[in-house]
């Protein structure tokens, strides 16, 4: 049971990392996620069913997700469509595409197919039971993705991407095309989301076009829960807290599913709970922000920048204490 929470938290955590990139780093509320998540699952499922190499399938799922992200970014930058609408457009189109990918089906089962996950579990079977093996596998996968992302955000390109959501003018002033940055950011984000979808398909044993419904809200709730856990300005800590937030969120959902009936809660109420979680998080951040009148870190949907404070005034000391990392 506890393994189940961690496994779900980690496998969906890869998706949350993607959501974190768009919402927090790029300040680009990207709704493509609801379509690119099942896209990853669909590509994985159809490739496995056709008997191709599961690693190749995984790479294709990643590429498919990135492509979906590119489409959203291009609709936004080239046609000057607001980012929310661009995401909704791609997401809607992806629903049809996902059915096509699945071979004109709405879902596809992977029962008794050998997947990357089932192979690993089998390899590890002499040493541990399948639940622990699954947990170990997803722990390694999530950490590899996290560390690769950390490294990426330390490169010149990654740093510049980091400045995008905060200050686009600054990026332009460095002679960098902001449209190109958005393309990379949204593409990378959706690649991760599709990768997560591909793993969820293996874990759950099926792919379904409706797998993505409400994924963006779950991702956002996870990001926000993570922000309550710890504050930092280091990318390694930020990605870590994304994974922790995802595990925490799955834990709460688990409690809702298994103990919710005591208070007459049904599984269909969980989305309402998720939405309310986000609303409560927003209220808490807002109340905090008003008290302190400044606020990086945990902050509303627009990505962390509160109203610019009085120019020339020095920021308050409490904030300084929490954001400053060890030198």
């Amino acid at each position: 049971m506890i393994e189940g929470i961690f496994v779900e938290g980690l496998v969906y955590g890869i998706m949350v990392l993607g959501v974190f990139i768009t919402f927090r780093i790029l300040s680009f509320p990207d709704l493509t996620v609801d379509g690119s998540f099942p896209l990853g699952a669909a590509i994985m499922a159809i490739m496995l069913t056709r008997g191709s190499n599961p690693w190749l399938a995984l790479m294709l799922a990643l590429a498919g997700g990135m492509l979906a992200g590119f489409v959203t970014a291009l609709i936004h930058t080239k046609l000057k469509v607001p980012n929310l609408l661009a995401g909704i457009l791609t997401m809607t189109m992806l629903w049809s595409i996902n059915i096509r990918v699945l071979g004109n089906r709405a879902n596809l089962t992977l029962v008794r197919r050998s997947t990357i996950l089932s192979d690993v579990v089998q390899q590890l079977s002499p040493y541990m039971n399948s639940q622990v093996a699954t947990l170990v596998f997803f722990l390694v996968v999530a950490l590899v993705v996290k560390v690769l992302l950390d490294v990426f955000f330390h490169t010149d390109l990654g740093l510049t991407l980091g400045a995008m959501g905060n200050n686009e003018q600054m990026v332009i002033n460095q002679g960098v095309n902001p449209e190109y940055m958005k393309l990379i950011g949204v593409g990378l984000s959706n690649g991760l989301v599709a990768l997560s979808g591909a793993f969820v398909a293996q874990f759950q044993g099926f792919a379904d076009v409706n797998l993505g419904q409400g994924i963006i809200v779950a991702g956002l709730a996870s990001v926000m829960m993570g922000e309550f856990i710890l504050r930092s300005n280091k990318i390694a800590m930020l990605t870590l807290r994304v994974l922790l937030g995802s595990i925490l969120y799955r834990g709460l959902m688990y409690l809702g599913r298994y103990y919710g009936y005591y208070i007459n809660l049904t599984p269909s109420d969980l989305r309402l709970i998720t939405g309310l979680l986000i609303v409560v998080s927003l209220i808490v951040t807002q109340v905090r922000g008003e008290r302190k009148w400044s606020g990086a870190g945990a902050a509303p949907l627009n990505g962390g920048e509160a109203k610019p404070g009085a120019v020339g005034a020095s920021p308050d000391a409490e904030e300084a204490a929490v954001t400053r990392g060890p030198a």
Binding site: H154, L157, A163, V176, A296, T323, A327
Partner: protein
């Protein structure tokens, strides 16, 4: 060398809100020029900068840089050789990133690759450069820029811009949003950098004394036109009174003191 040829900018053309912000302006900026620009609100100073930096496309006319027509070149491309600092100190740096990250991003203009350039040698270089600001920032490389004061941020923006060796810098009232003490510090720093690095500079200011005191050339703008272009010995001998008189002679109306602030 920057050359503006018969350049005009009209906002909302063909509507009741039609507004000619820049009217048939010709201007040559020579290498090493330090031009101060004054003019009342709405005179077109910032629009002029927007046209030079590529933030706006002119309605008519051409922008030439070293003889090359860059009229249609995108702002981000021109940013590789034109540095610009805005009045708002928040626009030059990313507040939720550390000082060293900010300096790394601004270190080299143009293409950003997948290399990790931020290493200890680079940090040492940043520290050395920050020391020249005399603000103690060299000890705060790991702090978020959002923790710095407006003056410190503007000084940092200035420093990073200067390190990138731009061919022209545009200063758009870059000290106007700072408190008097910080404004003085940043202005002195600006003058030092311009001298040390031999920067070609255009500076918009609301302060007539600054406009007279600094630079080798002074432009006065009014209603989208450059009405005065004074340089050399004439600029040296200029006083606020002479400037106000000249404005009156040209425009046949009195320059009101709240139009251009006469602070001393």
């Amino acid at each position: 060398m920057i050359k503006l040829v018969n350049i005009s900018k009209v906002f909302s053309p063909g509507t009741v809100n039609e507004n000619a912000a820049i009217r048939n302006v010709d201007l040559v900026v020579h290498e090493g020029d330090f031009i101060t620009i004054i003019g009342s609100n709405g005179a077109g100073k910032t629009t002029l900068f927007n046209l030079i930096s590529g933030n706006m496309l002119p309605t008519e006319g051409q922008v030439l840089i070293n003889g090359r027509d860059v009229t249609k070149e995108h702002e981000y491309k021109r940013a590789r050789y034109i540095g610009r600092i805005f009045q708002d100190p928040l626009l030059g740096t990313a507040s939720n990133m550390t000082l060293e990250d900010n300096m790394m991003i601004t270190h080299r203009k143009g293409h950003k690759g997948l290399r990790i350039s931020l290493n200890n040698a680079m940090r040492e270089f940043f520290r050395e450069k920050l020391t020249s600001l005399e603000m103690g920032l060299e000890h705060r490389l790991k702090d978020n820029v959002g923790l710095l004061s407006g003056g410190q941020r503007q000084a940092l923006t200035l420093l990073t811009m200067v390190i990138s060796h731009p061919e022209l810098i545009l200063l758009d009232e870059h000290t106007a949003a700072l408190d008097p003490r910080n404004a003085k510090v940043v202005l002195e720093l600006t003058m030092r950098f311009i001298k040390d690095y031999g920067l070609t500079t255009m500076m918009i200011t609301h302060n007539m004394n600054h406009a007279i005191q600094y630079g080798n050339r002074l432009l006065m703008m009014d209603k989208g036109e450059i009405i005065l272009d004074i340089s050399g010995a004439e600029k040296q001998a200029l006083t606020v009174e002479k400037l106000v008189d000249k404005f009156h002679d040209i425009r046949k109306r009195t320059l009101e003191s709240d139009e251009v602030m006469l602070s001393t």
